[in-house]
């Protein structure tokens, strides 16, 4: 019995669809998603994987089929059929990518908007004043607010307007220097080499770079933002799964770029409170603190320190901080 071509085509089509749908959901390529935003990004990735798998199977299938089916037999010097084109077919395969790309663009836009990418205060060039206000707000009590270079410049990044959500976000000032991240918690006066935050509460990172461009990346949050000297940038997120996640520098920042790492602890609220209690400085100690300048004054050994002793960032960096505070060397 000979099966008609159209049925074979149909069966192959169904098979490819099933495989793509299955693989798009079950590829298991992404790390844990530790926030609802991250899950949205995964949604878009799954969608793209589904389509990509389908197209991949289709095109590679055609290639392999041609390779086997249309081989020239030995001694055959004739030519193939002189088909120069096929207008309906060409319209079809122009339409397919167009439609795919269109849906993908709309979906991506949707997700980007949900991530707060189009939020006016966070993502626009003229958000400088807004940022300054934010700082005024929480500067009062502690009085240890670090002067932010270029804070009246621009604020680029993503994240929902944290004020609008009703919950007061946890503000963290982040400074990237060769080769460490320094986190300052204005509310509590804590300065740390690690990022600690409670889950289910928005965290707003106000980031700046001390020397060269760095990029703040937490893979499990699917968030990344360049930290550019002379410009402030902002990220707002809301972690939902407690755990320890890497904080990575994703922009080439020098020889030990690969060693510029830290940890983000997504705590339960209780854990977070006890961390604050254990680490908050006595009020007097923090008054004159300032962040160090560029690290050109650091020795090679100090560059390496954070890498050599994994979590040792805190120790070395804090030592630096104290030095600078003592000499009154403000940024």
């Amino acid at each position: 019995m000979k099966i008609p071509g159209s049925i074979v085509t149909l069966l192959v089509g169904v098979l490819i669809t099933i495989i793509s749908l299955w693989y798009g959901q079950n590829h298991g390529l992404m790390p844990v998603a530790a926030s609802t935003d991250a899950k949205e990004v995964d949604g878009i990735f799954n969608y793209m994987m589904t389509i990509a798998t389908g197209l991949f199977l289709l095109v590679e299938g055609v290639l392999v089929y041609c390779l086997i089916r249309f081989r020239r037999r030995k001694g055959d010097r004739t030519d193939g059929p002189p088909v120069e084109g096929n207008v309906p077919l060409e319209i079809l395969w122009t339409a397919i990518p167009t439609v795919i790309v269109f849906t993908l663009a709309v979906y991506s836009f949707e997700v980007y908007n949900n991530l707060g990418g189009l939020d006016p205060t966070i993502s626009r060039d003229n958000a400088g004043q807004q940022m300054a206000h934010n700082h005024m707000g929480h500067m009062g009590g502690m009085g240890n607010m670090v002067a932010m270079a270029g804070q009246d410049d621009v604020a680029l990044g993503i994240g929902l307007d944290s004020q609008e959500q009703g919950v007061k976000p946890l503000m963290v000032d982040v400074k990237g220097i060769q080769y460490a991240w320094i986190f300052t918690y204005p509310e509590t006066g804590i300065i740390s080499g690690e990022l600690h935050a409670p889950i289910d509460r928005p965290v707003q990172l106000n980031m700046e770079a001390g020397d060269v461009i760095h990029a703040f990346w937490i893979p499990q949050l699917r968030l990344k933002q360049d930290v550019i000297p002379g410009r402030g940038s902002t990220l707002v997120f809301n972690a939902s799964t407690p755990g320890q996640y890497p904080v990575i520098c994703a922009e080439l920042c020098g020889a030990y770029h690969g060693g510029m790492k830290s940890v983000f602890y997504a705590h339960t609220p209780e854990e977070y409170d006890s961390w604050v209690a254990a680490n908050a400085p006595a009020p007097t100690e923090s008054v004159a603190l300032a962040l160090p300048k560029a690290t050109s004054s650091m020795t090679e050994g100090e560059y390496l320190a954070p890498y050599a002793e994994e979590m040792g960032v805190e120790a070395t960096v804090l030592a630096q901080l104290k030095d600078h505070a003592a000499t009154g060397d403000l940024l």
Partner: protein, 551 residues
Amino acid sequence: MTIAAENLTANHPRRKWTDYFTFCVDHKVIGIQYLVSSFVFFFVGGAFAEVMRTELATPDPDVVPPELYNQLMTLHGTIMIFLWIVPAGAAFANYLIPLMVGTEDMAFPRLNAVAFWLTPPGGILLISSFFVGAPQAGWTSYPPLSLLSGKWGEELWILSLLLVGTSSILGAINFVTTILKMRIKDMDLHSMPLFCWAMLATSSLILLSTPVLAAALILLSFDLIAGTSFFNPAGGGDPVVYQHLFWFYSHPAVYIMILPFFGVISEVIPVHARKPIFGYRAIAYSSLAISFLGLIVWAHHMFTSGTPGWLRMFFMATTMLIAVPTGIKIFSWCGTLWGGKIQLNSAMLFAFGFLSSFMIGGLTGVMVASVPFDIHVHDTYFVVGHFHYVLFGGSAFALFSGVYHWFPKMTGRMVNEPLGRLHFILTFIGMNLTFMPMHELGLMGMNRRIALYDIEFQPLNILSTIGAYTLAVSTFPFVINVFWSLFKGEKAARNPWRALTLEWQTASPPIIENFEEEPVLWCGPYDFGIDTELVDEEETVQTLIADAAGS
């Protein structure tokens, strides 16, 4: 036939090997000069990559110190792009365009030689930067990092890029003029080979974007040595402005790297599948569409830098649109293969390799166009995997395909097929093994441009390093093949593939003035099977001409 071709060339003076080291203005000599020098640089860039992959086999920076790793990485990227792929495109264009349009030489032969002779000094300058501390800031050289790490190495990098950039502008002027003005009189734009269309699109892109790179580099140079602050935030400059200027050139540059090879593939496939190219106009116009769209997508390299939200959305849309003309091309090539009589020689194998890996590179390309997803994978190994699929699996495969296809024309000898197949198999396996695991590494959280990484990434990195060694091994059959065939290969007829484009109407290798007499346009460039007699008839006539010339 073979003997006839021999007789023909015997009557004409041939090039001496020493001509290839002179300021010769013959476009064929210049083409070969470009091709050979670009391959020399490929081996240098490849050797650097092998050292990098060896280093990355273990998580610790134990093979080379991190500074040296960054230098190798910077030079690898720069060499592969500016001294291998781009000049190799120019090599094919130089060799083929005058032959394909049926003329004696380029429009401006001297300019052509000048263009070539700018590249070796560019390359030597770049590599000699190791003596003063090679640049470490990556091939993108973003300030302020590039202003801080090693002044003279960085300055040499800039000078070398200015030289090769100038070279490519001069070349582009020549290609455009030759294609538009020197075609034989029967050849209108729509009966010209698709490689010429591809070079037309490439050259316009070069002319529009390369000057902007020059501007960016000159300003960077001022910051570096004159102490100005165009890009230096310490003096009030803006590093993001550099990124815009840089990518305004360097995004189009990726099309400058791939478009000529789209052209090569459009030549190879119809000949070895014995079918007319499917959708000639669609392929020709999609090249132009790609080069136009290519100019308005640059900020997709900056989705995580200082780019406002609405701008990110604009660049996302334009970037995704490029998938449409690219898709048209891929489908058209598949359409050409469908129902053909496919001769699976080395040229065609590499063409298949090109299609299958460029497809993967294209799919991941659309993925990274999606802003929310790109935010996750930007500057990670996912991107490294993506662009190597495009550049190695795409450009490089098509480049090898072209080398095998035109080798008989360029040297008058056939290549050794078994060695060619071995080369293909090793390259194909090596390429996939090297670059496929990188996608997963990037998704998991491995950032790029690092000499040290977390232990959890090691297994996939080992796979990748094994792949890189396979690639290194794959070059041996290739090099042996080239030298063996050059001296011992079977003598090639003028048209061993029975192709229809004009370059096959002259002797292999072509005589100095290209054609004995003005070539005749028998039929369209891809009219296979339309009149079955055509090819054989043409062949008979050619043999007669050759015999007449020989006697």
